[in-house]
């Protein structure tokens, strides 16, 4: 019989054991009778020879070696029985646990999907990201995107890698259908081979298409195929006009493909691009991914790249000195959500610990009240280890049942949570319950079961048996009181940490929301504009088109004023450049940095930026007239110290230097409400007229331009009229990524708001759980003290004195807990300060308020048992003795 069969065939096994013993006895008796013994005497002798049959059987059961399993089974069924006997307790315990493990599992599911799961490509561990690395650092660090010539050299020289490259190329699709601005990538022909991705339709680019002059071909995303080609199989071979140039569609990507931080809609061959920057060994803008060839190792690849780096550094010292190439595992870039996720997991973990402490004290109270039963069992021969094991089995059963419920909760709750996440959560489609999540949930529930079962179990093994039995109905609570106190303190401390953290986040949010952005955010519409590709060929024409656009936009009903700007405050993207204030250009790494915005004159009016000194830009500031700039207060201070900034000159290296400062305006929070106080960031701002941007830069600048529109109506309602006005003769100019300034400003606090909401929720839960815990423990301890209280009252204590007695006991535990919690909250505050933008060191007021809230709740929870104690009837209490 196999060990697992024994569990199910216990009964059969017992019968066989009994039969074997009986056979032995009867055989022996028969022999003895045959030798002439009296039957009764024979029976006596036989039994004597064998020993007590029950003892022999017990030893046989032990000899099977699977005793623990059978015991476990027994304990398991026993604990199910006891849980059924107390449905109230079971329900509370399961609910608490389900909430705790459920919330923890949701957080882990998200972390697993976003951060832990490997990329969804075949053999993701053999995929690498290649980068350039310099032995010096600029403002942007020491890692660089490739230059195309460097990329080509690495691709050619590497034996152990297949290298693919890509470069961003967003643009406008004007045919088929309405003009639409899309994300595009220029890629080498082997990008999909490197990733191991098969196209859902058609083919990838051929190597010979990855060259200048080859026929223009394009691969489109599954989404674009559905959207613009109606998912028609005839899409292959059709024409697609992208940035004014016709391409033949040759392939469609699979659905749900994820690249870097999203999915571009259009892919075109990088090798066909003849732009000048691609020939320049100093223009960085090509990303590189690679796959290790079969048998090759990462170390080999790295060594090869280092060799190529050295060779190129010798060959092209001007561009490549101190520059090498590195390779490391390709991982999803999720750095901006990482800290939020860990913070939330931590907060949820604290709630779970409080739940465990609650259950531990409940179970402990139960163990104490079952003390005599357990002592009796020991007296009857149960081993202490065995009893401890029984206790742990009980709590493990509770833990696992709670965990199973928690997983069910998580399965339901994870989607709403992801939807609730501010902005889009990277890799959201990877977030699913998988085996990793289940293992995690199992481990958490077992750990919880162990944590809250440990105290009662340890108690079983320590207890003084004899004393317990002799104590009779009077229970000895001394030891458990200390343990109960410890649980209360732990709960209190944990709850205080969460409450104060939530308080700090709330306080931060209040402070940040009340900050002045420097812009009048009401009624401003923001949107990017893609000009027609042939317009951009000619700088003079481009300027004229922009002027015309602004004029026509101004006439749209509901538009008060309209302006163009390249970097919009509080939106993603910024333009940091070095500047200097004397004619000699200092070396690059010595130049102070400024956020340079090229704008049209009305920009200040649209945004409501305040003029401090001098004048705003005006229509006279155009090419041919003197180059001018307007600076903000921060730049005025940083660049000119206490001197008068008006009339001073600034150099920014765009080819129109120097710029004379004609005005000083108020500072605008470019980095958002939370981020702009970060002193490590560039805060100085400078505005120069778009009309004075030199010819060679007009095209690039135009590609980056946005419109800012002040409206007298709801801003988004102006989008459609503006879109119609902008469309242009060839139907190839679009307004895209429309948003409002109010929305952008709010979005900069989205993370803080989200964290505060969840921390608030968890803190509320912690407050509730710990109040229940305090109530439960106090109720129990007071019940144990009923005889003592009876004596006190018989001796003349008043109800008020009894209430004070109980409250004093609870207050001592609570205060110690609050003390520990405050220390923990201080540490948590430091952590939050490091991970959440805009957090200030915790203020005493926050501590005071949150701790008072907690004390009020805790005292309320203690008051109920205290009042009950004060109503003890002395006579009946004493009679109970």
């Amino acid at each position: 019989m196999r060990w697992w069969q024994r569990l199910w065939r216990r009964k059969q096994m017992e019968e066989q054991l009994d039969k074997e013993m009986r056979f032995h006895l009867e055989q022996h008796i028969a022999d003895l009778v045959a030798r002439g013994h009296d039957p009764v005497e024979a029976r006596r002798l036989a039994r004597l020879a064998l020993g007590g049959p029950e003892q022999v059987k017990e030893e046989c059961r032990d000899a099977r070696g699977t005793r623990w399993l059978e015991d476990f089974w027994q304990d398991f069924r026993y604990s199910l029985r006891t849980l059924r006997q107390r449905p109230g307790f079971a329900a509370v315990a399961l609910l608490t646990l389900a909430l705790g493990t459920g919330a923890t599992t949701v957080m882990f599911t998200v972390i697993n999907g976003v951060m832990l799961k490997p990329l969804a490509y075949p053999q993701p561990e053999r995929l690498l990201r290649l980068q350039e690395k310099t032995d010096f650092s600029t403002h942007w660090g020491d890692l660089w995107a490739f230059t195309y010539p460097n990329f080509l050299d690495c691709k050619r020289e590497s034996r152990s890698l297949i290298v693919a490259g890509f470069s961003s190329a967003r643009g406008t699709i004007s045919e088929p259908g309405d003009a639409e601005h899309v994300e595009g990538w220029e890629i080498t022909s082997d990008l999909f081979t490197v990733l191991g991705v098969n196209l859902s339709r058609g083919r990838a680019f051929l190597p010979e298409e990855d060259r200048p002059g080859a026929p223009p071909v394009a691969i489109i995303s599954y989404g674009l195929w559905q959207r613009r080609f109606g998912a028609s199989p005839d899409a292959l071979g059709k024409s697609l006009v992208f940035e004014g140039k016709p391409y033949t569609v040759v392939g469609v990507t699979p659905a749900g493909l994820w690249l870097d931080d999203g999915l571009p809609d259009v892919f075109i061959p990088l090798g066909q691009d003849t732009s000048a920057w691609l020939q320049n060994r100093e223009a960085h803008g090509v990303g590189a991914w690679a796959r290790l060839r079969p048998g090759a190792t990462l170390a080999q690849a790295q060594a090869e790249l280092a060799v190529v780096g050295r060779q190129l550094a010798e060959q092209y010292p001007k561009s490549n000195k101190g520059r090498t190439f590195i390779a490391d595992r390709l991982r999803p870039d999720v750095s901006d959500v990482q800290s939020s996720l860990w913070l939330l997991l931590g907060a949820v973990g604290v709630v779970l610990l409080i739940a465990c402490a609650n259950l531990a004290s409940l179970l402990l109270a139960r163990a104490v009240s079952r003390e005599r039963e357990l002592a009796m069992r020991v007296a009857l021969g149960a081993g202490r280890g065995r009893l401890a094991r029984q206790c742990l089995t009980e709590s493990a059963v509770l833990g696992l049942a709670g965990g199973a419920l928690g997983v069910a909760l998580a399965a339901v709750g994870v989607r709403p949570f992801v939807a609730f996440w501010p902005g889009s959560l990277p890799r959201a489609e990877e977030i699913q319950l998988d085996w990793r999540v289940l293992v995690f949930a199992l481990a958490v529930s077992l750990l919880c079961g162990f944590l809250f079962g440990l105290a009662p179990a340890l108690r079983v093994s320590k207890r003084e048996l004899e004393q317990t039995l002799r104590a009779g109905s009077r229970t000895v609570v001394g030891g458990s009181r200390r343990l109960h106190g410890a649980f209360v303190m732990a709960e209190v401390a944990l709850a205080v940490v969460l409450l104060v953290s939530a308080g700090m986040l709330g306080r931060t949010l209040l402070r940040l929301s009340s900050l002045d952005t420097g812009v009048n955010v009401r009624n401003i519409l923001i949107g990017r504009v893609g000009l027609s590709a042939d317009t951009l060929e000619n700088p003079e024409r481009t300027r004229a088109v922009w002027r015309d656009l602004l004029d026509r936009g101004r006439r749209v009903p509901g538009v008060e004023s309209i302006a163009m700007v390249d970097t919009v405050p509080m939106r993603e993207g910024d333009n940091q450049i070095g500047y200097w204030t004397t004619p000699a250009e200092p070396p690059q790494d010595k130049q102070p940095m400024v956020l340079a915005n090229s704008v049209s004159p009305d920009y200040f009016k649209v945004m409501g930026i305040r003029l401090r000194k001098g004048r705003f830009l005006n229509d006279q500031d155009r090419l041919g007239n003197e180059s001018v700039a307007v600076v903000d207060e921060v730049m005025a201070r940083e660049a000119f110290g206490g001197e008068e900034p008006l009339g001073k000159y600034v150099w920014i290296g765009l080819g129109t230097d120097p710029l004379r400062v004609v005005g000083v305006v108020g500072h605008v929070r470019q980095w958002g409400l939370a981020g702009d106080d970060d002193r490590t960031r560039v805060r100085a701002q400078l505005y120069y007229p778009f009309e004075q941007v030199p010819d060679k830069l007009v095209r690039r600048w135009s590609e980056l331009m946005s419109l800012a529109v002040r409206t007298s109506v709801e801003p988004l309602s102006a989008v459609e009229p503006l879109r119609r006005v902008l469309r242009g003769a060839a139907n190839d100019q679009v307004l895209y990524q429309a948003s409002t300034m109010e929305h952008l400003a709010r979005a900069t606090l989205a993370r803080q708001r989200f964290l505060m909401l969840l921390f608030g929720l968890f803190a509320g839960l912690a407050l509730l759980l710990s109040s229940i815990g305090i109530y439960g423990v106090l109720e129990y301890l007071t019940r144990q003290r009923v005889p003592e209280i009876g004596v006190r009252m018989a001796l003349g204590a008043t109800a008020g004195e009894v209430i004070r007695l109980v409250l004093r006991q609870s207050l001592r535990m609570i205060l110690i807990g609050v003390g520990m919690g405050a220390a923990g909250a201080f540490a948590a505050g430091r952590l939050l300060q490091r991970l959440v933008e805009g957090m200030r060191p915790a203020e005493p007021l926050t501590f005071a308020v949150m701790i008072s809230v907690f004390l009020a709740a805790a005292l309320a929870a203690s008051f109920v048992p205290a009042r009950r104690a004060s109503r003890v009837d002395p006579t009946s209490a004493l009679r109970e003795e």
Partner: protein, 115 residues
């Protein structure tokens, strides 16, 4: 009671059981009888520890058991040696013989006779 009976040295009961069972399938009572007869009442085999030992050996896979009819037509649990049990018996028996031989040699030394 002619001779004084001695207790069985630790661990030898298993060896003796294996040896008895090696002679052919046999039930518990018969094993007890056989042990008593063969050892001529010199060795006290406590019947109480016989069955736990049998179950232990069965659990270790050295013995296998099934229910068969005895000559008297009753059902009894018969034990037989498995291949693993036979191997165990051989090694145990060999080491037992080596041990007793050594002990015998030592006990046979003449006192003070090493000079």
């Amino acid at each position: 009671m002619a001779a004084q009976k001695s207790d069985l040295p630790q661990g030898t009961l298993d060896l003796l059981i294996l040896k008895v069972v090696a002679l052919g399938p046999v039930h518990g009572y018969a094993i007890a009888q056989r042990l008593q007869q063969v050892s001529r009442d010199v060795v006290q085999v406590p019947q109480g520890s016989l069955y736990p030992a049998l179950h232990r050996l069965e659990n270790r896979g050295q013995l296998a058991a099934d229910w068969q009819e005895t000559e008297t037509g009753r059902e009894a649990k018969f034990y037989r040696l498995t291949r693993k049990g036979r191997a165990q018996l051989e090694t145990e028996a060999a080491s037992w013989l080596r041990l007793t031989e050594a002990v015998g040699l030592i006990l046979g030394m003449s006192e003070g006779g090493s000079e």
